[in-house]
Subunit: 130 residues, 2 copies
């Protein structure tokens, strides 16, 4: 709101990208840490990190550090512009996003250590195909 043309275009560019829009829609269901996002979307961590950087620059997501982990979420609704609300609502309604949400549910029930910590993740994977 009350911004200029350039900044509005930058904000729109931030979501004009498949991965970045997927990440935003994913966070629409609640806070996640970076490795959870990478796990759900099955993309390199560096790509997720860069996507989040752009979404942060656009003012769409917040970050919260907790030790080694960085938790990201959509900015709180009082400050949310009508623009973000419209984009988020429509993105979350996409068919592709429902699959992502299913994977989020799994990842959340497993918990962060099983998803993000290498050793526990490896152990879980091993147990999966005995």
């Amino acid at each position: 709101m009350t911004q200029n043309l350039r900044s509005m275009v930058e904000r729109l560019k931030a979501v004009s990208h498949p991965l970045r829009l997927r990440v935003l829609a994913l966070l629409g269901s609640g806070e996640l840490c970076v490795c959870q996002v990478a796990e759900v979307l099955q993309v390199p961590q560096s790509s997720v990190s860069e996507a989040l950087r752009e979404l942060r620059r656009a003012g769409f997501v917040n970050e919260r550090k907790e030790g080694r982990w960085v938790f990201v979420s959509v900015v709180s609704h009082p400050n949310t512009s009508q623009l973000l609300q419209g984009i988020l609502a429509e993105a979350m309604a996409l068919v592709e996003m429902q699959q992502d949400r299913e994977r989020v549910a799994d990842v959340k029930t497993l918990g962060i250590p099983a998803v993000c910590c290498k050793v526990e993740k490896a152990a879980k994977a091993e147990a999966a195909h005995v």
Copy 2:
């Protein structure tokens, strides 16, 4: 609505561009012909034409041919998605757009011939700096 990720990204890309967003916001105030848009924004006709092509592909604007002129307008509101409404509302509120709207008022009162037809336009320009 009820679209896929790819098409939503394409629609967002269509407005992630200064000229295209300006054109959309301009049409938010009402129908104009292509040459009026070019005159108001002071950009080459080919650029306006290309901008409108993208906005049309994205489903944001309609066209209506009348002889040599092509009139363009924002798609009618019943079919308008929440996404377009949010983008249009925010774009029309930008400071840059108020200046554009002032120029639109001038252009509309002059009428299409004085703005678009080369001979009348030249006569008007000549009269302006006698």
